[in-house]
């Protein structure tokens, strides 16, 4: 049964009701459980759990250090293109936004790579808008071998592809695919995705399965926090994650928890996720799943990021640019969203060291796997 069939059987209203009626007892049970299941995740995401935040944080810290040690993986996004054939009302790359469009040429790509390499990164996330014809499988197949010469770990965050296309990219060195559902609530999804292929909720929902069956090493899930009730979205992502883990057990999984940021022509968040809420969410996922990787982008403020680091985060970006060609030519106004933490990678690494965390630049060598 594919996840979309499984998902159809979930009654979202009922789940939401259960989530909001969790009691202190349920939270305590979840905190004490040696193995946690989806009902425990529900309790930990519920409003009732906010009174237990310190306990959750202490446990999340211990589990993370036990599983990952003091290591935090460092990565950087490399924006390949801001072309997009979709309309998402929260994103600066939306098709109708008046914005100079750009796709990196080989020379520009190499220039970006050399700057990123100088900063010490060995793990890269290739990002593009979703434009199948102009920035599609042919472009990715061309770009990947170039990038792979310089980075041991290459992830992509592009439009959903077919299984065979993922397979072809794996053969060229692809290690990870991030594909965020944005929201698991179909009515909200339809409201925010008003044009283009991304409107197909189910095709997006089944992407991680195609990624996994193509043998990609790591799969990233994510929700855009602010589009709708974050507690329910997080719980549904938990369902997705456990479905995938059960069936595709050779893959590694990561999640990303971006809060909606201002962008050109963007919507204001419908629901605000407070700092406290974000901490609860990170801790809940860590308690639910000890081996899950959790990424933290530069969307958050520096001091808040420092405080989040010990709580379960395993990967961070630093010194990011969110526009194509932005490392070589910053501030050209082509960016996808505003970033909040402007610290350079080395500044960030130093901060991490002062709180006893170890920035890891390279931890992957495909040839050995």
């Amino acid at each position: 049964m594919s996840f979309s069939d499984y998902f159809k059987q979930l009654d979202l209203d009922k789940l939401s009701m259960q989530l909001y009626s969790c009691t202190a007892n349920d939270v305590e049970r979840a905190l004490a459980a040696p193995q946690r299941d989806i009902d425990h995740l529900m309790a930990l995401l519920s409003p009732a759990a906010s009174a237990y935040l310190e306990q959750m944080a202490q446990q999340a810290y211990q589990i993370t250090r036990q599983r990952f040690g003091a290591n935090i993986g460092m990565y950087l996004p490399l924006y390949l293109s801001n072309l997009c054939a979709n309309e998402c009302d929260y994103c600066g790359f939306s098709m109708s936004n008046k914005l100079k469009r750009k796709t990196l040429s080989d020379d520009e790509l190499i220039a970006e790579i050399s700057i990123i390499k100088q900063r010490g990164f060995d793990s890269i996330l290739l990002v593009s808008g979703e434009h199948e014809t102009k920035v599609g499988i042919d472009y990715f197949s061309h770009v990947l071998p170039i990038v792979k010469q310089h980075f041991s770990y290459v992830a992509i965050e592009v439009q959903p592809l077919k299984t065979e296309e993922y397979q072809a990219l794996v053969a060229l060195g692809l290690d990870a695919v991030m594909v965020y559902q944005e929201t698991y609530q179909p009515i909200t999804y339809a409201k925010h995705h008003t044009r283009g292929k991304k409107q197909d909720f189910v095709y997006r929902l089944t992407t991680p399965e195609r990624v996994a069956s193509a043998g990609v090493d790591k799969i990233g899930l994510g929700v855009l926090l602010g589009l709708d009730d974050w507690r329910l979205d997080a719980l549904l992502m938990g369902y997705h994650l456990s479905y995938l883990e059960r069936r595709f057990w050779r893959s590694r999984y990561s999640i990303s928890l971006p809060r909606l940021r201002p962008c050109t022509g963007g919507v204001t968040p419908k629901v605000e996720l407070t700092d406290k809420g974000l901490v609860q969410m990170i801790c809940a996922f860590r308690l639910f799943n000890a081996q899950l990787e959790i990424s933290l982008s530069t969307r958050e403020e520096p001091s808040f990021r420092n405080n989040l680091l010990p709580l379960g985060v395993t990967n961070i970006s630093a010194g990011s640019s969110t526009e194509p060609g932005g490392y070589q030519n910053p501030n050209t106004q082509l960016d996808q969203f505003e970033i909040s933490d402007e610290r350079s990678a080395s500044e960030m690494a130093n901060t991490m060291r002062t709180i006893g965390l170890n920035p890891v630049w390279k931890d992957w060598e495909k040839a050995w796997c």
């Binding site: 004490a32 040696p34 935040l53 944080a57 059960r246 069936r247 057990w249 405080n307 709580l311």
Partner: protein, 254 residues
């Protein structure tokens, strides 16, 4: 109700037929146990006779028979035994057991996976007996096995759940029933296996070789039911409270 492949079981205690002093004692114990799935070794059935001392009374009891391939040392031998069982007993269920090692009867993971994949292709309902190896169990599930039967400890050793940490992982990950097989020597151990969330246990030696097999069968029946009910009710857990270091969420208050 436990479902394995297309069959439903009310009892989660599976039993074996070896080691009883005589057929009568065996039948009395099995019937007391209320077990609905009974394994029997193909190597023990007399193929030349129409009436078999072991087989015929079991068939009359109406329990589901699970022929096993004990004695097979290779995939090829096990496949042969399974085919023989299908022909003779009219069942495509098979407990796949391959142990080339006569001393501890340790299951051979490599031959078992190879045989399981052939037998599943041929339409058998395969329940493989394996070491408590979580990766192997996932691979057996992938080739189409109907359940997995990891061992608690060496066959007949009565050492109980020596493999508990690995059984826990197997139970957590499996999408098919997990039957803990081998090594369960006391009702308390069967109860523990069920509390952990095992779908069923298979007990043979502990019942067959006890001084009073019929009584012991009752004890196991009750232990399995108790363990299952405790699992469903949700066990309270043992925690070592985290030592409180400096608060991690104070920044939220400022």
């Amino acid at each position: 109700m436990l479902t394995i492949a297309d069959h439903q079981f009310e009892s989660r205690l599976f039993t074996g037929t070896g080691k009883f002093s005589d057929t009568e004692t065996m039948l009395a114990a099995l019937s007391t146990s209320q077990s609905q799935l009974v394994t029997l070794a193909m190597k023990r059935i007399d193929l030349s006779k129409n009436f078999d001392d072991l087989l015929t009374p079991l068939q009359e009891m109406g329990v589901k028979l699970l022929p096993n391939t004990a004695g097979a040392r290779t995939a090829k031998e096990a496949i042969f035994a399974a085919e023989l069982a299908r022909e003779m007993l009219g069942t495509n269920w098979v407990k796949l057991e391959i142990h080339p090692d006569p001393k501890y009867l340790m299951p051979d993971a490599i031959e078992t996976l190879a045989a399981a994949s052939v037998l599943c292709e041929k339409g058998f309902t395969v329940l493989p007996y394996v070491h408590a190896d979580p990766v192997l169990c996932r691979r057996l599930e992938e080739v189409g096995c109907a359940a997995v039967m990891p061992l608690g400890s060496p066959i007949g050793s009565n050492q109980g759940l020596a493999t508990e940490p690995f059984l826990e992982i197997i139970i957590e990950q499996a999408n098919i029933p997990v039957v803990i097989d081998a090594g369960i020597g006391a009702p308390s151990q069967a109860c523990r296996a069920m509390e952990m969330g095992a779908d069923a246990v298979l007990v043979n030696t502990a019942i067959a070789s006890s001084a009073n097999p019929q009584h012991m069968a009752t004890c196991f029946k009750d232990a399995v039911n108790t363990g299952r009910m405790a699992y469903l009710a949700g066990l309270g857990s043992v925690t070592k409270h985290a030592e409180h270091t400096s608060p991690l969420t104070q920044f939220l208050e400022s």
